[in-house]
Symmetry: C2
Subunit: 338 residues, 2 copies
DNA sequence: TTTTGTTATGCAAACGTTTCCAAATGAGGT
DNA sequence: ACCTCATTTGGAAACGTTTGCATAACAAAA
């Protein structure tokens, strides 16, 4: 391996000088700079980041743990997109990204704390927060730098990036109300996730604005899967009065609803309108194409990454919450019934 | 930060002893082991992996670069699945995974060599190999440990994991031939990818077995996208004699073909049968459901990870190629015409 | 020439581990 | 009690950097 000493020897200077050239230190004469650069080139020198990390007490690495449970990340386009957003920024700022997967939330927390404790990463990005998240507590207890993608309940005193779940769900519901629908079912996910709470809030807010009182039998909870979308819709269809529209908290659930609706020989949107969430690639391919809310996933990842890097590099930061806005994409599944 | 010295002080032993307890060295008396463990617990000690990496000359980290161009990784389920496979194994063997994204193949190569040169990672996993891959040459030139997921042209003298592309494409084509199809179009990807070459080979092999000579106008090349699937199928439909079946090298292309077929008012599979590749979640949702080849993506990732870890930890390894078999999943798009 | 001041460079310590080698400890045999 | 030998422990160097401090080099002022 070629080290800084080899370069120093070849350039006939001390290692310190080489180090300073590496750091673009101004107090090195142009002559020596040139000499050193030449030597580095000649030897194909690349600094050892491990050694640098040790003395700098910073690995210049961010941690990301993908939990299987987190919004069923693995079948979801969420996952690759957010990584792309994060990665673009980390690269731009010469950071690395350490990735771990976990099968459960407990494991996710464990991995997170381990990465930080072992000094492998300088900070972590947390995806999708829950109502009573021990991990968040532990992180702030240890003063570990972190940014969460999602909303943290109650306490706003953290760094976070989120999309406007309340507003988006409100808009989606309003869209259905404006089409004349009165009985709008809501297929929700587990309430332990704050985004599920928020989208429910948006849904309720829209109903209220139209002076409709929410009907408990129209609000169902399940996992964010096609299967649960299917089953919950079947339940809905067994109620006395069927809904005329379904708002699903995830496109996959909407797909599940599609299947039940078709099984019943009903037409979308004339018999039942459907709106999803996430703008899964599926949404524009399935028939009829699915109206859905498009979240700026890439941007959220990028923003979160920028935020934590800033937090790591500038001392005078204080907690901030960023909210990015989503967009309702209207497609066939909720077009006007002519 | 609590270091090994703090533990040593508290346990009234030397740092060396603590280190040995950490490494489960047998030559430490049970008494001291107990003392040290107690002290570690009390202080909540976690070893600094950076320091360890420096002296051990190993970061216990694997590198993975996802290139945008690589099989259009980002819209593809390939990407999350292979990461899951890799990550499961890295965790099991106490390795980490360093992830980078790149927008082009050149950038991918650059990032790869950088991670290795800077000693951030001990070895890398390369996805989807190309016909004339400079990266592979550079890696082996530098004696960097790597495993490729895919097939390397010509030279077999590397570590690799692949699925049985030739056999799988052969089987898929044969399946169509057995259904009585004679004019089977093949929507292929860029021939610079070895997997495209291999699947073409399988297709040709099946034709040959049925004494059919391949017709150039039935073999089209494009990118692995829905858009190109659409456009290539439109081209196909302008030929004198339309194909009676389409074999697409990727499900997304098959979806593109679906749209053209439907635009022409034709029925799948009665007018035209379609077979895809990859078993994208879409395949089982789209109507009619799509016959496709299911690749053991997770297993490929896991196998590749196991392979490189073995290569890193055991000195007496020599290059080996593993081939995992795929499975043809027959669905509505190619069922028997009754 | 000497002094002063600035600028460029080198020395050595430090980061938190691991591991070689030597020393201390203790048990068993005389 | 002493010696031998095996076992357990500690001291110190090493990994490849960065950086505070000191000094060398040199130009400008006296």
């Amino acid at each position: 391996m070629t080290t800084i000493k080899d370069v120093a020897n070849l350039a006939k200077v001390s290692p310190s000088t080489v180090s300073r050239v590496l750091a673009n230190n101004q107090r090195i004469s142009l002559k020596t700079q040139e000499k050193v650069r030449q030597a580095m080139l000649e030897l194909g020198y690349q600094p050892n980041m491990i050694a640098r990390s040790l003395i700098k007490r910073s690995s210049k690495t961010l941690g990301l743990v993908l939990s299987r449970s987190t919004t069923s990340a693995f079948t979801n386009p969420f996952f690759p997109e957010i990584i792309r957003g994060i990665s673009t920024i980390t690269q731009k700022f010469h950071y690395s990204l350490l990735l771990t997967t976990a099968e459960s939330h407990e494991e996710e927390a464990k991995e997170c704390l381990k990465m930080l404790g072992e000094k492998r990463v300088d900070g972590v990005l947390i995806l999708a927060s829950r109502v009573n998240d021990q991990l968040i507590n532990q992180l702030s207890l240890n003063n570990y730098p972190f940014v969460v993608v999602g909303r943290i309940p109650d306490n706003t005193n953290y760094y976070s990036v989120n999309n406007d779940n309340v507003a988006a769900a409100y808009l989606a519901t309003k869209h259905l109300l404006d089409l004349g629908h009165q009985r709008i079912a809501f297929l929700n996910g587990p309430l332990e996730f704050t985004f599920c709470q928020d989208r429910l809030a948006g849904y309720l807010q829209a109903l209220q604005e139209y002076n409709l009182s929410p009907e408990p039998e129209l609000i169902k909870h399940g996992n964010l899967s096609q299967k649960d979308g299917y089953e919950l819709t079947e339940e809905l269809f067994k109620t006395t009065l069927r809904p005329s529209a379904i708002f699903a908290i995830d496109d996959l659930m909407a797909i599940g609803a599609y299947q039940v609706i078709k099984n019943y020989g009903l037409q979308i949107p004339s018999d039942i309108a459907v709106v999803g969430f996430n703008d899964d690639p599926l949404a524009s391919i399935i028939e009829p194409t699915l109206t859905t809310v498009k979240i700026p996933i890439y941007e959220m990842g990028a923003t979160a990454a920028r935020m934590i890097i800033q937090l790591l590099e500038e001392s005078n930061q204080h907690p901030s919450q960023k909210i990015l806005s989503s967009e309702l994409i209207i497609r066939e599944s909720s077009c006007k019934i002519v």
